[in-house]
């Protein structure tokens, strides 16, 4: 069930209403049942994978807490192996086999062909696996008590708003909220709906409109002029932000209507002055996960500069691999490794005195946007060859017939001048609004009239300018 579907239009109010109508002691059960229904609306059988990891991690948490020394570690490792094992089988097995087969063929072992698994990737696997792992790690570290109530623990993993695409929550933030009583609070309802409306606007009005152009161009990059490729690449930078942050806003908003508080996942990342700041603002729940559980475990910046650069490389390469079993994602991670290490080297060692304007926010923002956009080419391209084609075509900057090519392609892509005008004006509206209003939109609370204007204006834009093709969210595939 997609957030941008008619089913969710019924599911969400029914679940929220029932939540408040039911006595507190039954609410966890109601949310768990609703979450199971939500997840099973994709591929029902894959809920068994969730149950498998839930059972493993539930008992692992109790065992970790009740043991000390090497046993404690043993149970943690067992839990991590189970979670990573599920990821390895469902997400990375075929990638590994594909590369192994190619390697074997390269060395002449053509008869030796390892078999592929014919399976679909369970929706949101990387998200709920990482959330489950954060639980056992936190119990191991003593930051979280083991949850004795299996239903509550299952709900922690399966809570429907953030089940399939995050934010990847920490047990300290979320688990206790399921035990707390949340009375109906119209203020929270308003705040939640407001955030959901903003998320839907970004997804349906901007991301899904841009996807029409991006998909057409990126699926056949050889057929398009460099200007088309450049526009599609810039569009994808905006599309992925609107798609993913839109999802996060809807998830956080949906949870908020029931009184739950989920962590912020995006904080206007394209306003970042440098790449380091970008990663503090983009997919915050994942980047802090890697920081808390991998970077710091590897030693962080406590073991010298070289080790820090190594640790960063590991984190970003794994972050790339987390997104998908494809070399394009690994290259995307490698590029960000390069960016961040270069930035830190320049920041820490450069003795160059840059002129004042270079250090001001705007050039930094533009430069960071260009860097991230370049990396998005690999993220979006269907394969490395396509990504190379796109970048090399863009770099040719062949101005011959550029305008004609863009105009002609607009009709074949069905993305005419009006689509350009609507897309660009909505993007401007979004950036201006996000610049003026904090990410959580809570400042609107003080001005009822502004709030009414905001809500009705955004709703009207969604209804009258939305692209309602039931498009999935990009991050569902991860």
């Amino acid at each position: 069930m997609l957030f941008n579907s008619y089913q969710f239009l019924i599911f969400f109010p029914v679940v929220t209403l029932l939540y408040f109508l039911l006595p507190h002691k039954f609410r966890w059960l109601h949310l768990l049942a609703a979450s199971c229904f939500f997840y099973m609306s994709f591929i029902p059988v894959y809920i068994l994978i969730l149950f498998f990891t839930i059972i493993i991690d539930y008992f692992a948490g109790i065992l970790i807490e009740s043991h000390s020394g090497p046993h404690k570690k043993k149970y943690l490792i067992a839990s991590l192996v189970a979670n990573i094992g599920v990821l390895a089988v469902f997400k990375y097995y075929n990638f590994f086999i594909d590369n192994s087969n190619q390697l074997l063929a390269h060395f002449g072992f053509t008869a030796c062909h390892l078999p592929y698994l014919s399976i679909l990737l369970p929706i949101g696997l990387s998200f709920h696996t990482f959330q489950a792992m954060s639980y056992t790690i936190e119990v191991y570290r003593g930051h979280q008590k083991a949850e004795r109530h299996m239903g509550i623990y299952a709900l922690y993993v399966m809570f429907y708003p953030q089940l399939v695409a995050g934010p990847i929550e920490r047990p300290q933030n979320l688990l206790h909220q399921f035990r707390e009583y949340h009375p109906f609070d119209s203020q929270k309802l308003l705040e939640g709906l407001r955030l959901m409306a903003w998320g839907f606007f970004k997804k349906i009005v901007i991301a899904d409109r841009l996807s029409l152009y991006v998909n057409a161009v990126y699926n056949h990059p050889d057929d398009y002029h460099y200007l088309n490729l450049l526009i599609a690449t810039l569009f994808f930078s905006i599309q992925i932000y609107c798609d993913f942050s839109g999802y996060s806003d809807i998830a956080i908003g949906a949870a908020r209507t029931m009184g739950f508080h989920l962590m912020t996942n995006f904080n206007r990342p394209y306003f970042s002055k440098n790449i380091q700041e970008f990663w503090k603002r983009w997919h915050i729940s994942l980047s802090t996960w890697f920081k808390d559980y991998l970077y710091i475990s590897l030693g962080g910046n406590r073991k010298g500069l070289k080790r820090m650069y190594f640790n960063l490389s590991v984190v970003f390469l794994l972050s790339g691999l987390w997104h998908g079993a494809n070399w394009t994602f690994i290259i995307w991670g490698a590029l960000h490794t390069l960016y961040i290490i270069s930035y830190l080297i320049i920041k820490n060692h450069s003795k160059i005195k840059w002129p004042g304007f270079v250090n001001s926010r705007l050039p930094g923002m533009l430069f960071t946007f260009i860097l991230t956009t370049l990396a998005w080419v690999f993220f979006r391209a269907n394969n490395v060859h396509d990504a190379n084609t796109i970048i090399s075509h863009i770099l040719t900057m062949d101005t011959k017939n550029a305008f004609v090519s863009v105009v002609q392609s607009a009709s074949s892509i069905e993305f005419g001048p009006s689509s350009f005008v609507i897309a660009l004006s909505m993007i401007c509206l979004m950036f201006v609004f996000e610049r003026l209003v904090p990410a959580n939109l809570f400042s609107l609370n003080k001005k009822p009239l502004t709030d009414i204007i905001f809500l009705s204006f955004i709703s009207v834009l969604i209804i009258s300018l939305g692209v309602f093709y039931n498009n999935s969210f990009i991050y569902f595939q991860f």
């Binding site: 119209s186 203020q187 308003l190 009006s418 009822p448 009705s456 009258s464 692209v467």
Partner: protein, 325 residues
């Protein structure tokens, strides 16, 4: 506690009001801009005039057959019910919807396109039919494709969510007083003239590196249409409209498969199948505004040819004309 709820309900009320206003602007604009399409669909789905010959097909029908010409040759009343798009379901829905209010015609002239059988159940472009969901057949097709027609009847502004940017732009153009019918063009009984432009200097060749493969998913709808005609005592003829030097067919890897499939259905049910892409006029660029659509002169010429073909195929329907010939 109360204030947030007041904000929510006020926002909801404002949204409904604004959307209703926008919907009325949209309706006014698109009705003006697509006046030819609206009038044709209104005639099909809402009026009850009796026609002797009904032409059904896509834009390759409504720009191709001029009922003024066929009327004058056949001495009957013809109507061109060509709709935008070319799926067989559009044609089936059009004909079933037509029969709700109109008496059955004596002859149904069905013009298929290469891609007519591509979709199993879909309609080519739902947007154009939204104003006519009061017609039970249109409503039935909408419902069977997942549209909640009650919701659209109660809140017509919900139509807005189905618009694409092209239609939105057309609505604005219409609101500004423009119409899709260019200056100098005209309509008559569903036919819309398609300019005096020719492709005499046309140099484009179809792309050969991205040939598409036709899927014949919906041959059964032709049979459904045949059965309806048999029940109502309506004669049926199937045609493939003129096309400049088979340029459309060259875009597909298996155009022959389409023709063979339609041919076998026609042979089985003893229905004439006019391959009008093979007419002499299909080789003359002066008859075409683009490779798939004839121009005004081409339509005049083809309407005469089609009328004479009909007199030969159905001498009992047009005895005077046939004997005179």
């Amino acid at each position: 506690m109360k204030r947030p709820l007041i904000i929510l309900f006020s926002s909801l009320a404002a949204t409904l009001l604004l959307c209703t206003v926008i919907y009325h602007f949209y309706t006014a604009g698109i009705t003006k801009f697509e006046v030819h399409k609206r009038e044709r669909l209104k005639e099909i789905f809402e009026k009850s005039t009796r026609y002797d010959v009904l032409f059904i097909g896509s834009s390759r029908t409504h720009t191709t057959i001029n009922p003024a010409v066929t009327d004058s040759i056949l001495h009957v009343s013809c109507y061109n019910a060509g709709v935008e798009g070319g799926f067989i379901n559009d044609f089936l829905m059009t004909y079933k919807g037509y029969l709700i209010h109109h008496p059955p015609p004596g002859l149904l002239f069905l013009s298929l396109d290469l891609w007519s059988l591509e979709s199993q159940s879909g309609i080519f472009d739902y947007i154009q039919y939204f104003p006519f969901i009061d017609n039970p057949e249109v409503a039935s097709y909408f419902r069977s494709n997942g549209y909640n027609t009650s919701a659209y009847s109660a809140f017509p502004f919900l139509t807005l969510i189905h618009l694409d940017d092209y239609t939105r732009t057309n609505a604005i153009k219409g609101f500004l007083g423009k119409t899709e019918i260019p200056a100098g063009e005209f309509q008559f009984a569903g036919y819309m003239s398609n300019s005096d432009k020719t492709i005499a200097n046309w140099v484009n060749t179809p792309p050969t590196d991205s040939l598409k493969t036709l899927q014949l998913k919906n041959l059964s709808s032709i049979t459904a249409l045949i059965e309806i005609c048999q029940k109502t005592g309506t004669k049926l003829v199937i045609s493939y409209a003129p096309e400049y030097q088979r340029k459309l067919q060259m875009r597909y890897t298996n155009a022959d498969r389409f023709f063979n499939a339609v041919d076998s259905v026609c042979i089985k049910h003893n229905i004439p199948f006019y391959r009008d892409d093979t007419l002499e006029m299909s080789a003359d660029p002066m008859n075409f505004a683009n490779p798939g659509h004839v121009n005004t002169a081409g339509a005049y010429l083809y309407s005469k040819i089609a009328a004479h073909q009909l007199t030969k195929s159905f001498p009992d329907l047009f005895p005077d004309i046939h004997n005179a010939n």
